[in-house]
Amino acid sequence: MSTARVELKLSRPNRIYRPSETLQGRIVVKAASSFSHYGIRIGLTGSVNLQVRGGSAGVIESFYGVVKPIHILNNIIEIKPSGKIVSGTTEIPFSILLRNPKEDNLERFYETFHGTNISIQYLATVDIMRGYLHKSLSATVEFIVESDKADLLDEPISPEMVIFYITQDTQRHPILPELKSGGFRITGRIATVCSILEPLSGELTVEASAIPIYSIDIHLLRVESVLLGEKIVTETSLIQTTQIADGDVCRNMTLPIYVVLPRLLTCPTVFAGPFSIEFKVAIVINFQSELSRLYPKSDPKTPRLWTAMETLPLDLARPR
């Protein structure tokens, strides 16, 4: 049987579309010889996949497994009726409106997100049916959905800065006695509402520290919550660590906090009924300590004796 391949090419290189827009692109068929088919269809699917694992939080003991996914979009459109594809390269353009205005009952178009427990994904699949004797040709691409401008808040996102200070007394976990006695004071401010297109910004100053600082890192955390029966299962995981100070920096020198938000791994904060996606930012100060060498592979989320930290909620939003 002659070989034939099909590809889906979307019109935008970044594959980002809004729900009110049309998904445009081309179906590219490369065939060594001509063949006939029973129709070319494009299927669009969008779903929120939820799963619950044996949580590190220890909240859930026995639940493990996939929670029923939430379908946002499931649409199959016939692009071409049955016919023939000539040999060589054939390009078939298509254009599909993502949100069918007639079908209002569908779920909200959540923005694409890939997390640990929650994954929101949109796929476009092309199928060329070739009867019973032949396997149908198909190809799938993921496209990324961003919220419609109309659905976004009117007012611009105010860069809300929170002033923080970290001292030996603000720590909720045990710290080394020398840290406790020597004392330290790190102050600064950081945005807690942040546009998803902009980097997370702020500044930080080491005002005092008796023990030399080893490094200061900004952890970006996501908090995924899934409604499981009566309970809400929440898991916090680390998305990205950004070091802002390497070594024992000068005291009273203002350091900028500038964290580029990773695409796909972040999305605007969502509070839906069955699930929610939130973010947090943690400022973690590692002090120089012999002890740290004994625990080389520590989980960055776990507070240690030689660390001080401050965790703040982070509200991500898409600007208009």
Binding site: I213, T241, G247, V249, L255, R293
Partner: protein, 997 residues
């Protein structure tokens, strides 16, 4: 009409001309049996244009400017040394480790980042800066790696690493492996591994695998986190910066191609012109770079692609400022300094734009922040307290010197193109000035930074604000915990201020105030620092004629320097100061009379002392004679010191020649006036002291000859003295190497002896001269050919001299020409030379045959040959027989020529390397022929002017003319004129048709 004896010497200089013209007088009646007759003399006297023989002892004027090259070389050396010091007085660590010269040829990144006017200059500047960085810090061969540099360790080389462990390594916390034993690799390995990484990045990029390129680049940038390699860090920085520059250029190029504006190739675009696709790609790059966890590689990578911000935003000054701020997070002083250096470098890739911050085209606010941040770092380093480590101060010092290039480069960028108006603002921003009015009124500054600011400021500004700057230097308080350190830094700054002020010496009061301050400050310094600082101010002191200061300084120096062994650095300082004094004062005696000058000179030793001595000698002899006995004695001692110094070296270097020349010149210029004995004693002393200088011995002979001539002219009373002089010369000459030199000197001495009436001395000297000629034997023919002009002129001179030497009947009256004749036959000289020598003997014989010789010895007691022998038939007979044999020889030589010409034709294809053939091999056949023709004509002319053309002479002449005709064209002018002379001289009876054409 009679040439003065002194003029004779000029014949030896009129080399290569064919006619030694001697006057001829009418001859008396001849013996009928004589076959040849000397020609009657003509009344006309011909002479060639003359030039002075200034060096000749018989020259009446005082010997004047011997063209001796000035001490240019020494001056240059001194200047160079000064220059070096200007740039890096103490800062170059003179370590004995080999400098890290890394072949960076293929490491030059092709700059495609921009096409602005200054790009070329910037690239060049950066390239030379990189080279400077790599060479400045000597690196030991081995580099121990900390775990962070594991990228550099090839898989399985230092530690067996499986791919999984490599993978783990990327993820792991840096702390983890710090307990592993330190790995050590060679510097070369490290460098070549970096080259490999660069190639890998390139390969991956070309294979469209940009993610790998980026990952590898991050690894390279991560290497810069390891500052434990210390002295290797600058080299590492250069190599890593090259890799990152390359990546940045590639990313720029890729996005530029995506942006459609690129079609017209213009670089002037705004972010609004860039298409979405290109923007998207660009944004992606910044996202990827921004997600690097570690701070240092993140900053470096963003800097690498910094120019790409232009695709996204109109004025990328915000990212630049942010990056400067982010660098504050690097606590390691070395890493942060070089990171700032890289910022300054990459920022140059951005186009100039106006930020309104300063009223100029370039935003320099970020650089000011850099400098101010570095200021804090410096303060922190120098104020950090001593730990248990003993060599803490040393390591601080070397750390700061490693950081210096960064501050230097940033300062250069900062002050480049800063308008005069803005400088004030910059200085205020840097904390140096309190306000525009009080540019240097700030209270504190870091001396290292101050140093580099001072280096970059305009001369005008420095001289206007000297007092303020001085105040700043005094107040620099960065090293409050380390007095020695502070002291060294301040010393450097004082020195630099002096040097900058010297660039434009003003006459204002401020100079006085500054100097008073400086001298007060340095009075507590040790010798080395004292010299270093004051050396810089010496020009100002000298030019403003601050004699009080000068006196005080010299006094202080001798006070500090006595009773101690002077170190090399201090010697260099002394040298510089003394040389400056010497070149300032035109008169040596003024310098010598300066208090303590000689004292200080005595304290010096080694090459520095030699250099000062050479300057002194140069100065002493530049302006004519040295007459003062004290000065002479002093200079003699100086010369002796100089001589002793290079005797030890025993190397015939240019330097030594320079010194030899200076000493010789000094000896030449010494003049004891009427104290002849004293002068001769001085010469004897010199011969003993400077025996190894050949050149000097020549001068000694000349001087002693001059002395003898002078004494002779003074009258009879000095006869004994003249004899001693001649004896001195005679004894000295044989020790001079070079026969031609000896020959000349013998002749010169002979002339002087003759002048003094010492005939037997003269005879002896002429014999020695002839012996000298004979000893040419041993030399190769080719050498003789080279010197043939010299030999010819010497022999001619010898001939003209022997006109005056009374013949000695005991050895034969014509002893001299006969010896010459026999000499010729024993030498492998060229026929041309031989012909000319024969002609000279003809002229000599013709002259001697006259009733009155054209010139005679000046001394009344030396009788002329004319008085002694004229009319003596045996004398005339002997003359004629001599000439006859000469004529025969001459004809033989010329006749021999054709066979040689033919032979030459035959052998030109055969490569026979006989010296004889070599001497003519470079002449072509035609040239040979022409030469032979000319030779014949020359001989013919000489014969015609010396002899009457009678039946004996005529055939010879005809034969010569025939030869000439066969060799030259018929209308050759020389040929025609020779024939016409012959025709004119033919006796009327003997007009022969064979000669008339």
């Amino acid at each position: 009409m009679v040439p003065h004896m002194a003029d004779l010497s000029e014949f030896s200089h009129a080399v290569g001309q064919s006619k030694v013209v001697v006057g001829k007088l009418k001859e008396k009646e001849q013996d009928s049996e004589m076959v040849m007759e000397f020609k009657p003399a003509e009344q006309q006297f011909h002479a060639l244009p003359r030039s002075r023989a200034d060096l000749h002892p018989l020259h009446s004027h005082s010997p004047p400017s011997l063209s001796l090259p000035r001490l240019r070389q020494v001056d240059d050396d001194a200047e160079n040394r000064n220059n070096e010091e200007f740039y890096d007085p103490l800062r170059v660590p003179d370590s004995n480790a080999s400098p890290a010269i890394v072949d960076d040829q293929d490491f030059e990144s092709s700059s495609s980042g921009g096409n602005y006017d200054s790009v070329q200059a910037q690239t060049k500047e950066w390239t030379s800066f990189k080279r400077f960085l790599m060479q400045r810090f000597p690196v030991s061969k081995m580099i121990s790696l900390s775990s962070m540099s594991s990228t550099i360790v090839r898989g399985g080389k230092a530690l067996e690493k499986t791919s999984t462990s490599m993978h783990l390594e990327e993820l792991e916390d840096p702390q983890k492996s710090s307990e592993e034993t330190a790995k050590v690799i060679t510097r070369q390995e490290y460098v070549s591994r970096l080259h490999e990484l660069k190639d890998e990045i390139n390969r991956a990029w070309n294979a469209e695998d940009r993610v790998t390129s980026l990952k590898l680049s991050i690894k390279v940038a991560r290497l810069l986190m390891d500052t434990s390699v210390l002295n290797f860090y600058p080299t590492l920085f250069v190599l890593a910066a090259d890799v990152l520059d390359m990546l940045g250029d590639m990313v720029w190029e890729r996005i530029r191609l995506k942006a459609e504006f690129a079609e017209d190739g213009t670089e002037n675009f705004g972010a609004s012109d860039v298409c979405t696709d290109a923007k998207e790609t660009c944004y992606n790059w910044f996202c990827k770079v921004g997600s690097i966890q570690e701070l240092l590689p993140r900053i470096y990578l963003e800097l690498a692609i910094l120019p790409c911000w232009r695709f996204l935003i109109e004025q990328p000054s915000e990212p630049l400022h942010r990056l400067v701020m982010m660098t504050r997070g690097l606590a390691d002083p070395l890493a942060s300094s070089y990171c700032r250096l890289y910022i300054a470098h990459r920022a140059q890739k951005l186009p100039s734009y106006d930020t309104g911050y300063f009223d100029q085209t370039k935003d320099i606010g970020y650089l000011i922040t850099c400098v101010n941040d570095m200021k804090l770092v410096f303060t922190r380093i120098s104020s950090s307290k001593e730990t248990g480590n003993g060599c803490f101060a040393d390591s601080k010092r070397s750390l700061i010197s490693l950081m210096e290039p960064a501050i230097e480069f940033i300062m250069k960028c900062l002050f480049k193109d800063v308008s005069l108006h803005s400088v004030g603002k910059v200085l205020v921003e840097l904390g140096l000035g309190r306000s525009q009015e009080e540019l240097f009124g700030g209270s504190s500054s870091v001396s290292v930074i101050l140093y580099h600011i001072l280096k970059e400021l305009s001369t005008d500004l420095v001289s206007c604000h000297a007092v303020g700057i001085l105040h700043l230097i005094k107040c620099s308080n960065d090293s409050s915990y380390d007095q020695i350190f502070l002291f060294v830094e301040q010393c450097l700054n004082y020195r630099l201020l002096g040097l900058r002020l010297s660039e434009q010496i003003s006459q204002t009061d401020a100079v006085d105030a500054v100097l008073n301050d400086v001298i007060q400050v340095v009075s507590q310094y040790g010798l080395d620092e004292y010299l270093k600082v004051l050396d810089a101010y010496l020009d100002i002191i000298l030019q403003n004629q601050m004699d009080g200061h000068l006196k005080a300084i010299l006094g202080r120096i001798s006070e500090l320097a006595c009773d101690k062994v002077i170190a090399d650095d201090e010697l260099a300082g002394l040298q510089s100061i003394l040389v400056k004094l010497l070149s300032h004062f035109k008169d040596l005696e003024v310098v010598f009379s300066l208090n303590h000058f000689l004292e200080i000179l005595d304290l010096m030793h080694g090459s520095s002392r030699s250099i000062v001595n050479m300057h002194i000698l140069d100065m002493a002899t530049r302006n004519g004679h040295v007459r003062d006995p004290t000065t002479i004695q002093l200079l003699f001692e100086i010369s002796q010191a100089l001589h002793d110094d290079f005797d030890l070296a025993h190397i015939k270097s240019d330097d030594n020649q320079q010194q030899a020349r200076l000493i010789s010149r000094f000896v030449l210029m010494v003049d004891h006036g009427d104290e002849y004995e004293r002068h001769l004693a001085f010469l004897v002393e010199c011969r003993g002291a400077f025996g190894s200088i050949t050149e000097l011995k020549e001068i000694l002979v000349h001087s002693s000859n001059c002395l003898a001539a002078k004494a002779t002219k003074d009258g009879k009373k000095h006869l004994g003295f003249v004899k001693s002089c001649i004896a001195f010369s005679e004894v000295t000459i044989p020790s001079i190497s070079g026969h031609i030199k000896q020959l000349h000197l013998y002749l010169e001495t002979a002339e002087v002896a003759l002048l003094g009436g010492l005939v037997s001395h003269a005879d002896g000297l002429i014999d020695s001269a002839i012996n000298c000629l004979q000893s040419f034997d041993g030399m190769g023919g080719s050498r003789a050919a080279v010197d043939s002009d010299g030999i010819l002129s010497s022999i001619r001179k010898l001939c003209s001299l022997s006109v005056m030497v009374p013949g000695d009947p005991e050895v034969g009256i014509l002893h001299i020409p006969k010896s010459i004749l026999s000499l010729i036959n024993s030498q492998p000289w060229s026929p041309r030379l031989k012909t000319r020598i024969f002609c000279a003997i003809f002229s000599l014989s013709a002259t001697l045959s006259q009733e009155r010789l054209p010139y005679r010895a000046v001394h009344p007691e030396v009788p002329g040959n004319d008085l002694l022998f004229f009319g003596d038939s045996s004398y005339v007979h002997e003359l004629l027989s001599l000439t006859e044999s000469v004529l025969q020889n001459l004809v033989d030589v010329i006749e021999l020529e054709p066979s040689r010409v033919k032979y030459f034709q035959k052998i030109t294809n055969v490569n026979i390397e006989t010296s004889f053939f070599l001497s003519i091999a470079d002449l072509c056949y035609a040239g040979l022929k022409a030469a032979r023709g000319t030779m014949s004509l020359e001989a013919c002319n000489c014969i015609a002017s010396s002899f009457k053309i009678n039946e004996h002479v005529l055939p010879v002449c005809s034969k010569l003319i025939e030869t000439a005709k066969s060799c030259l064209s018929a209308n050759d002018r020389y040929l025609i004129s020779t024939i016409s002379i012959l025709d004119k001289n033919l006796p009327p009876a003997a007009v022969s048709p064979s000669i008339a054409i």
